[in-house]
């Protein structure tokens, strides 16, 4: 995926060199098409609600094109993911406030709703067993990620899932490169502990590939 992203960036850079607005529009469309599914999965990981995740991705797309479409295409990935992470945090904050209000009035949010992460469809592997293993590996990984502090989770998803380099991740997270390295290192260390110590069978099976 990193190679694909690199190729995409090269393509985007080549396209953006043209002065024609049509080329720019085609370039940003290609960028959005490339990132939309992964952005959705990251948003889903952050908010654990399908509709909220879709709204977040759409908002991030719209804000990117409204504010930064004229920027060089190399700047789009960190800008897009900064918007995305900000929107995820907004939704999380609103939920926290809502929970406090409900708690104040003696109500509770329904906990019977199915977890979208657990209800996510199985990956399209070559056979059902591979699909099951891959699905369970991702569920285990997501459960472990949810146990990380938010900044560590952000650093891990941006660096590992999205393939952003340290500088881009720092820009997306609005922090220093040193902070990114620290968050990421701690995230990896903690994930190793969680996935190892808890003996996630499917994760380990997947790891043995």
């Amino acid at each position: 995926m990193g190679l694909a992203l690199s190729i995409l960036r090269n393509d985007l850079a080549t396209s953006a060199r043209g002065d024609d607005a049509l080329d720019s529009g085609a370039a940003i469309e290609a960028f959005l098409r490339e990132v939309e599914t992964r952005a959705y999965r990251i948003a889903l990981l952050g908010v654990r609600d399908r509709d909220d995740a879709l709204d977040i991705v759409q908002d991030a797309m719209i804000r990117l094109v409204q504010r930064y479409a004229d920027r060089p295409s190399e700047q789009w990935p960190p800008l897009f993911y900064r918007i995305l992470q900000n929107r995820i945090r907004d939704v999380q904050r609103r939920r926290t406030v809502r929970r406090r209000v409900l708690s104040f009035f003696g109500g509770t949010e329904s906990e019977d709703a199915p977890d979208p992460l657990l209800a996510a469809p199985a990956p399209s592997g070559e056979n059902p067993l591979e699909q099951l293993v891959a699905h369970d590996a991702m569920v285990a990984l997501e459960q472990a990620l949810l146990m990380l502090p938010p900044r560590q989770r952000e650093a891990f998803t941006l660096r590992n899932f999205e393939g952003l380099d340290v500088a881009q991740t720092a820009e997306a997270m609005s922090c220093t490169e040193g902070s990114v390295k620290t968050h990421y290192s701690r995230a990896v260390h903690r994930l190793r502990e969680l996935l190892g110590e808890h003996g996630e069978e499917h994760w380990n099976e997947r790891a043995a590939d």
Binding site: T37, Y40, M61, V65, A122, W203
Partner: protein, 141 residues
Amino acid sequence: MSERQTERETDLERRAKRAFDDSVGALDAATRSRLTQARYRALQELAAGRRSAWLGWLRLPTSPLAPAGALAAVALAALLLVWRAELLPSEAILEGPPVADLDILLGDEDLEMLDEDLEFYAWLEEQPELTAPPAAGDGVG
């Protein structure tokens, strides 16, 4: 950090990325459709923004000329009013007095006399005996 630990972390990173990529590849069609719609909506915003910018660009060159245009319009309106005002007396003359009085107005008579004796001339015109032809054989002449 030991070399063995670094290798394990690297391996974990590789597996994590693979698991994530697999999960992305497994997204259902409905979700992909919603994402496509979201992308199209964003691109519509882009197109709308560019249309707006284009219209703004069209307005920009004319905006410095707008005061001059307004001034020209005001001057034209004033000119029309003045021209109209100059026309008004002639129109009043044409529409006001009867056409039968044109010969009086266009004649060489003293108009001040007409003003003073207007009532007299009106009375004189109403007298039938003065306007009727003289009776024959009345001994005059």
